[in-house]
Symmetry: C2
Subunit: 218 residues, 2 copies
Amino acid sequence: MEIFRQSGGVDGISEINSERTLRYHHGELRETLVRVAIEAIEQRGEASFTIREIAKVAGVSHAAAYRHFRSKHELLARIAEEGFYGLQASFHQALGENAGRSCRARIKALGEAYIRYALQHPGYFRAMFHLELRSHSDLPSLSGAASRVFGTLVDAVTEGIARRELVRRSPRELAMVVWATIHGLSFLLLDQQIDSPPAPDELIELAIERLDAGLAHP
Amino acid sequence: MEIFRQSGGVDGISEINSERTLRYHHGELRETLVRVAIEAIEQRGEASFTIREIAKVAGVSHAAAYRHFRSKHELLARIAEEGFYGLQASFHQALGENAGRSCRARIKALGEAYIRYALQHPGYFRAMFHLELRSHSDLPSLSGAASRVFGTLVDAVTEGIARRELVRRSPRELAMVVWATIHGLSFLLLDQQIDSPPAPDELIELAIERLDAGLAHP
DNA sequence: CACCAGATGTGTACAGTGGAAACATTGAGC
DNA sequence: GCTCAATGTTTCCACTGTACACATCTGGTG
C-alpha cells in the first residue's frame, strides 16, 4: 500500500492539488480522477487501484468520486472506452499513412499500431481488457467502441481477401487470428512474461513479418 | 456476491463437507482449498475469489486457510504452479503422440495442446497468468515451472530451424511469436471477447494453420 | 497405556475497501 | 441578491485479508 504520496508528489503520482489550493469545488474532478487512475494502473501494472487512493491524490474525499461515477466499475469502463477511441485513432492514422499501399502493408501497419498503442498506453490498454468489463455488457457505448475497432481490422482483411492478397478464408475468422497474434504479443510484452526480453522492436518486427507471411495468398 | 451456497451444493460449487460431517481436522484441507478456489475462478472467470468464501465452502473457518498458505497470493501461486505442471504434461503428451512426425507437425501439436489446455482448465490457466504473480518473482518454483514449459517450445522451434523446416530466425524470438499467437487466441476465446464466436475448433484450426504457414521455411 | 508437543482449526480484532445516506458548500441563472 | 441543482464532506455499513491468542486433535515417546 501507500504507493502514492500526498505531499509534493516526489515520486509516483504527482500531487494534483498544487496550484489550485483548497477550493471546495475541484472544477475538473472527473478528468483528474480518470488521469490519476490511469497512472495508478500503469504504475502497478494492474487495475487494482483504490477509489480512496485516487481521490486522495486528486485532493478530494473518496465519496466525491461517486458524484462522477456510479461505481469503480464504471470508472474503469470509461477509461476503457476512451482507450478504444484512442486505439481507433491510431488505426486511422496508420491507415492514412499507408493509404496507397497494398492491403498486406496496411494490415501490417495496423498490427504495429496495435502493439505500439499497448506499450505506449499501458493504463488504457489494461483497462480495455480488464476481465470484469467484458463479462457484463452493461455499457453499450463501451462494447460499441470496441466493436468499431475490430471492425476496422475486419474491413482491411476483407479487402485483402477480395484482392487476392490474403488466403481465401473467412474474413472475420482471419481477422481474429490477426487480432489474437498482436493481442498476445502485446500482453506478453506488457507483462514482461519473457525471461530475458530481446529488443521489443525487433520482436515486434519479427512477429508482424511472420504474421504477414502466414496470411499471404500462396 | 453469494455465488456459493452452503447447504447441499445445489448449483455452483458443491458442498465439500458432505460425508465427513464435523470432524475438527479436515484431513485434506490444503487440496480442498485449491480445488474450491479453482472452481471459483472458473465460475466467475477471474481470480477474484475470497478466502472467506472458499473456506466456507470447504466447511472451515476462514482463518484455517492461513495454516496452509501464508497469503491469498501464495494460494494463487500454488495453483499457478500446478497449472504449469499440467500444461507441461499436455505438451509432453502432444510430443509423444507426434513423435515420428516433422517439427512443424509437432509445433502445431504444441499449439493445439496449449489452447486446449486453456479452454479445458480455465481456472488453472487464469491463475497462471494472473498479473500479480508475474511481477513479484518471489516464488522461484513457480517461475521455474513456467520457464520449463516455455523451454519445451523453444527446443521444438530450435530443432525445426536446424532441420530447415522453419525460417532462419532467432529460435527464442520465433518461439515467442508462436507463444504470443496461441496465448492471445487462448485468452480471446476464454474471455469470449468475440461478438459472435464461430465454432472454437474451427478458429483454432485456422489459427494453427496460419501460424504454421508463417513459420515455414520458404 | 498415558501423555505431551506440534499440527491444525476457531474466535476475535484491526485497518482498509466499495458504496450509501445525510448534510454542507458553491456558483450560475433568474 | 436569491435560490437551487451540482458537487463536495462526514459518517456509516458490510465485507475483505491478515494477525494473534486460544482450542482441539493426533502421532510418537516414556
